[in-house]
């Protein structure tokens, strides 16, 4: 019996998960026992979400083991991306993961159960179990999602994984959640708590694991960490590359762009946007690009061009050849009486194929015949082939291999030296360290502006995380 109580709920042994050549999780061993509250930190792409998905069974491991010694019932996940059905009521949403609610009259049971769970986690919540989810605020939806995670659902919650649960909650509600987590763990439940709010991690976790590049780089009792120690453990990607990014400052100090949020870029400057993913950088970039160009008119010389990172959504024209995908942004410049100058089109495309090294023997091949990295090069060629003075890049190096990255960095430097301005959002700190000036975003606002020698991983991380104490 006592053995049963201390046996882990989930144990990972050297678990790995690869997506093609990407090692999202590269041999992780950990176990979570009843009563544990495990804090999980690490920056974007460190492998946190992959780890969560391995535990909740979204996909299996590529190597190693994920074991549930007492079975996997009662293991729940609460995701940051809200997963409720907006057109159903709060109570109806409980039915979806609830195996017991099958018979007529289930609504009454569902109402009572979700009400009890909400009352337990968030006393005084004021959420009606019969209101439809799309009438609730983001915070209320997050609360419902958490309550569903902790609800009995025909059994009992034994391990609840909370991925950024407080990002939409205000301090008071978040404190209620933290208190509930403590009670839950004291009662023999287990929690994996993922958050970028280090203060919360410290206040609730009994043990903290730091993930970096798919591996555990530190695992200690919470008391064994200091705030600074935690930030240091997460960081240090670009220590060796920091020196190579010698600022190739533009010739003039002419300001090319200045936005209401405080983003400033000068001619010939490479400006980085950094911070944690989803803190408003991509939206700020898209807004900026759209404000510089028009839905209604396209001149011969556009003011800005865009390099998409989310290729299928923002970049690729899937039915077309490589040639047409490259030339779309320069057609107007070379056109004669509204007709495409096909000779110039091919010349430009051939030129850029050579310069950026697109691996194809025929530009008339479909774009989708290329690998992801080569498609990305096409999108770079599309933007750089134009004469636009401003190049907006939305995390453009996704799926690009290391060698190409170095080529593209060099190309960006050359183009910047020739007077172009680059706005570069990246989730990889190494890339941000290539920039002349960096704006760090937190909660959809700029929290720091760094230049020159101040652009270091530590400074960026510091500005990305909410530090309640002065540091």
């Amino acid at each position: 019996m006592s053995e049963h109580e201390t046996a882990p709920i989930v144990a990972l042994t050297d678990a790995a998960r690869h997506f093609g050549p990407v090692r999202a999780l590269d041999g992780v061993s950990l176990s979570v026992a009843p009563g544990d509250c495990l804090g999980l930190v690490g920056h974007n792409g460190a492998g946190k979400s992959t780890l969560v998905n391995l535990i909740n069974g979204t996909f299996g491991p590529s190597g190693g083991q994920v074991a549930f010694p007492q079975g996997s019932e009662g293991v729940r996940s609460v995701f940051q991306e809200l997963s409720l059905c907006p057109n159903l009521t709060v109570a109806e949403n409980l039915r979806i993961p609830h195996p017991g609610l099958k018979r007529p009259g289930w609504r009454r049971i569902a109402r009572a159960e979700i009400r009890a769970s909400l009352d337990a986690v968030f006393p005084g919540h004021g959420i009606d179990a019969d209101s439809e989810v799309d009438t609730l605020s983001i915070a209320e939806r997050q609360m419902v999602e958490i309550a569903i995670g902790f609800a009995p659902r025909g059994g009992a919650a034994r391990l609840v994984i909370l991925d950024e649960p407080t990002s939409a909650l205000d301090a008071g509600i978040a404190e209620q959640l933290l208190a509930h987590i403590r009670r839950f763990c004291e009662g023999g439940g287990a929690v994996i708590f993922i958050s970028h709010m280090l203060g919360e991690v410290f206040s609730v976790a009994s043990r903290i694991i730091v993930l970096k590049d798919g591996r555990i780089v530190a695992e200690r009792e919470a008391a064994g960490f200091t705030r600074q120690g935690l930030v240091d453990a997460m960081g240090h990607v670009a220590a060796e590359t920091g020196g190579t990014a010698a600022p190739a400052r533009g010739t003039a100090d002419e300001i090319v762009i200045r936005t209401a949020e405080g983003l400033v870029a000068r001619r010939g400057e490479i400006v980085g946007l950094s911070g944690l993913a989803g803190h408003g950088q991509a939206a700020a970039l898209a807004r900026l690009f759209l404000s510089q160009t028009s839905d209604w008119r396209a001149g011969r010389a556009p003011r800005a061009v865009f390099v998409a990172g989310d290729r299928p959504r923002d970049g690729v024209l899937p039915l077309w050849s490589i040639l047409r995908n490259i030339s779309i942004s320069v057609l107007r410049r070379d056109a004669w009486r509204g007709l495409v100058n096909r000779e110039a089109e091919r010349r430009v495309a051939e030129d850029w194929r050579r310069r950026i090294g697109i691996r194809t023997d025929n530009l008339d091949n479909p774009l989708l015949s290329l690998s992801g990295g080569n498609q990305q090069k096409v999108l770079f060629a599309r933007a750089l082939a134009s004469d636009a003075p401003l190049v907006v890049m939305d995390d453009p190096m996704r799926g690009v291999d290391v060698g190409t990255k170095q080529d593209v960095y060099a190309m960006i430097r050359t183009e910047a030296a020739a007077g172009r301005t680059f706005l570069w959002y990246s989730t990889e700190t190494e890339e941000v360290c290539q920039c002349d000036r960096v704006f760090v975003f937190r909660n959809h606002a700029i929290s720091a502006e760094l230049t020159g020698a101040d652009i270091t991983e530590e400074k960026i991380l510091e500005a990305s995380f909410e530090m309640q104490e002065a540091s």
């Binding site: 839905d295 495409v340 025929n362």
Partner: protein, 321 residues
């Protein structure tokens, strides 16, 4: 470019979706002639070109709109045809020498209708299906109100032109052919055509690549309405006057010829020769079934089945490519 593909031209031809519409049209043609053992081939071809021209003109307009991508379609084509024809004939009042004035009125109606349709879509953010269908009720009502049951004959010269021939081919077919060449040039050779095709593949990506997508959409909705108005003007002149139900059959027809012609219903890909082939086919299949003595019910049933078969044939070829 110097390394031209060495595949045989014939083999390549079969991978082009428009070939199926033309094959089907040829088959239907042969089937009818088989019954008459070859007599009346010229008359049948002439009739097919005459009636096919109207379907081809509205079909090319519909093709441009469908190329804009999922959800884009113009259901106001019949009402636009009726309204343009009614107002043009009323203006001309059967007076000789007014043909050009009537044409100008018809095209102006098309322009106004296109702008109104796009205004509903853009300003009120209505889905194009709803916007154009609802607006077509208004256009139809205006046509009824201004027509008041009168049947005005077209000016004699215009009627002669619409029913006449040049170099053995019907004049309306020449108009349809000229329009087809113009549409082809716009789609394949012009910047605007590239913008249209890009918008239809991925509107957001096109916008982020610098395409003025709203201007492209507006111009497309105006183009389809102007082409419908032209078809209405020609059809009324051809058939001796405007009738309130004259556009009725062109609602489904315009969409059917686009699909049979091999344009992608998902947008981003259009096909001018296919529209003409499909327009001829749509006429020929009905006349074939007629000449075999099929009743109205059987005729509709077989027409539907044949359309489905051709769409399947054309789309499977495309997938394999």
């Amino acid at each position: 470019m110097s390394t031209a593909p060495t595949k045989s031209a014939l083999l390549q031809g079969f991978t082009r979706p428009w070939i199926w519409a033309w094959l089907a049209a040829a088959l239907a043609f042969a089937a009818t002639l088989g019954l008459t053992s070859g007599r009346g081939a010229g008359e049948l071809a002439y009739a097919a070109l005459s009636f096919g021209a109207f379907a081809a003109i509205v079909g090319m307009g519909q093709m441009l709109v469908i190329t804009l991508g999922p959800g884009n379609v113009d259901l106001s084509i019949p009402a636009t045809m009726t309204l343009a024809a009614t107002l043009a004939l009323k203006t001309m009042g059967s007076d000789p020498g007014t043909a050009m004035l009537g044409l100008a009125v018809a095209l102006a109606v098309g322009l106004a209708v296109g702008l109104a349709n796009f205004a509903l879509i853009y300003l009120l953010r209505l889905p194009p299906i709803i916007a154009t269908l609802a607006a077509s009720l208004v256009y139809q009502s205006v046509a009824i109100w201004s027509n008041r049951g009168l049947r005005i004959k077209p000016p004699e010269g215009l009627a002669d032109f619409a029913t006449g021939r040049f170099l053995g081919l019907p004049n309306v077919a020449w108009v349809g052919l000229a329009l087809a060449i113009a549409v082809w040039v716009v789609l394949e050779r012009s910047v605007w055509g590239r913008w249209l095709l890009a918008s239809g593949q991925n509107l957001r990506a096109a916008r982020l690549a610098g395409v003025p997508v709203e201007a492209v959409r507006a111009a497309t909705y105006v183009a389809v309405a102007v082409m419908a108005a032209l078809a209405g003007y020609l059809l009324a002149s051809f058939s001796g006057g405007a009738a309130l139900n004259m556009g009725g059959e062109y609602l489904l027809m315009s969409i059917a010829v686009v699909v049979i012609g091999g344009s992608s219903i998902a947008g981003g890909n259009s096909n001018v020769p296919g529209v003409w082939g499909a327009a001829l086919f749509m006429f020929l299949v009905v006349s074939t079934l007629n000449s075999y003595g099929a009743g109205a019910g059987v005729r509709n049933l077989l027409t539907g089945a044949i359309i489905i078969a051709i769409v399947i044939a054309a789309s499977t070829r495309r997938v394999r490519r």
